[in-house]
Amino acid sequence: MKQLISLNVNGEVCDVAVEPNKTLLEVLRNELQMTGTKEGCGGLGQCGACTVIMDGKAVNSCLVLAMDARDKEILTIEGVATGGKLHPIQQAFLDHWAIQCGFCVPGIVLSAKALFDENPHPTEDEIKTAIAGNLCRCTGYAKQKEALLAVAGRQGKEGEK
């Protein structure tokens, strides 16, 4: 039996009718038509393609019930670029060819953003830990590491200003 709930997604509050057993991923994609967040592993939380940021923490939205996402601030890939400008992580991914097929990219961008929001100058190990739960089959992770290290460096320089 569907229940009406409010979800705060990318700064907008929307009312949506959901079944109690539906995940946040399913509701984002099917009810809110926000298809940037992807499903890759059958909803088992094993690939990270469904990563969103919930109250500042990167989570697998396939493991979060939509009902449990009420009253939380949710950020999806659709909300990362703001004011018509790409986020530095997105720009770095473009500049470094850190994208191939692009399917894992929304998830990795959000995992990385959660890290950078908390720690603007992460080490390589901290970056790897942040994206360790995001599987990518195309890139070998080399250029993704490169892009995120560049963001860490760039942010460092801006921070100094």
Binding site: L44, Q46, W97
Partner: protein, 347 residues
Amino acid sequence: MKKRGIGIASLVHPNSVRYYYDSEGSSCFVKVHDDGTVSVLSGARDMGQGALTIVAQIVAEELGVRYEDVKVADSGGTEELPDDLGAYASRSTFISGRAAQVAAADAKQKLFKVAAKMLDANPEDIVARDRKIFVKGSPEKSVNFADAVYAHMYDPKYTGHTLFLMGQSSIDVEGSEVPTRETGYGNSFCGNIFGSHVAEVEVDTETGEVRIIKQTAALDVGRVINPMGTEGQIEGAVLQGYGWTLLENMIWEEGKTLNPNFLDYRIPTVFDAPEVQVVMVESHEPQGPFGAKGVGEPGMVPVAACINNAIYNAVGVRFNELPITPEKVLKALKEKEEKDKAKKEES
């Protein structure tokens, strides 16, 4: 104890094989707008390897415009897109890219008939680069690319015609053949890539785990269209080879897959990724666009062999079975230890 070793392996791989079909075709349409921008309808299929990007670079170079001036259609189906056999066998740059170059060249030779008149020169003596068409050796004698296009389309005074500017191509690879059934003889490779990889590995003799510290991949890639794209293909392929050799194993019991998920079938994560150094040995492939070859597959081919050879160099055990799991490494090390002990006792 952690022991390091080094191993080498070579590869050869085709850029498409004339086998299932006696055709290795592709086709392309190029449409030039009178503001100097270009739209391309290419049969190239992008599956993340960057085919559309490579096509755009090739067309931009051939026509003499900038990369940002070229758009490649990223949607559409078999009704409107020109035919192409698809993205497989490392053929996208080599064949679909070549079709794009030929189509751009077709548009360019039409444009040059008008541009030559504008410059009072012969079409063979003019070149296009960076949005300008100029006389070879005299770059000050130039017209803007866009102005020449406009003239081609709307000003009859140069050639007596006003025609919209398009180029097209339909190509097949020359010189390759379907091999004979009886002996497999025949030049079926439409192009070839050779290469050599060296793996530096570390073997943990207590856990049996093997890690690649660094993979050096030297590949004969022809002309590199986009270094980031080439590196990306090889980095991704190396990690897939690493996963196949050391981590991934489909466990079947009486035909049933026991591990049909990403937790139990382990594909590499960022922590598994070794340092990969790509050495691009440039040469010239006559049938490739600007001499380019396709690099989609070769990065994967010798990885298992060079890991195996490197493990032998590190700890003296060699495997004839994949995957090389920690259990197998430990078992082999134990057998070696017992053998070495027995040999010592004999002598």
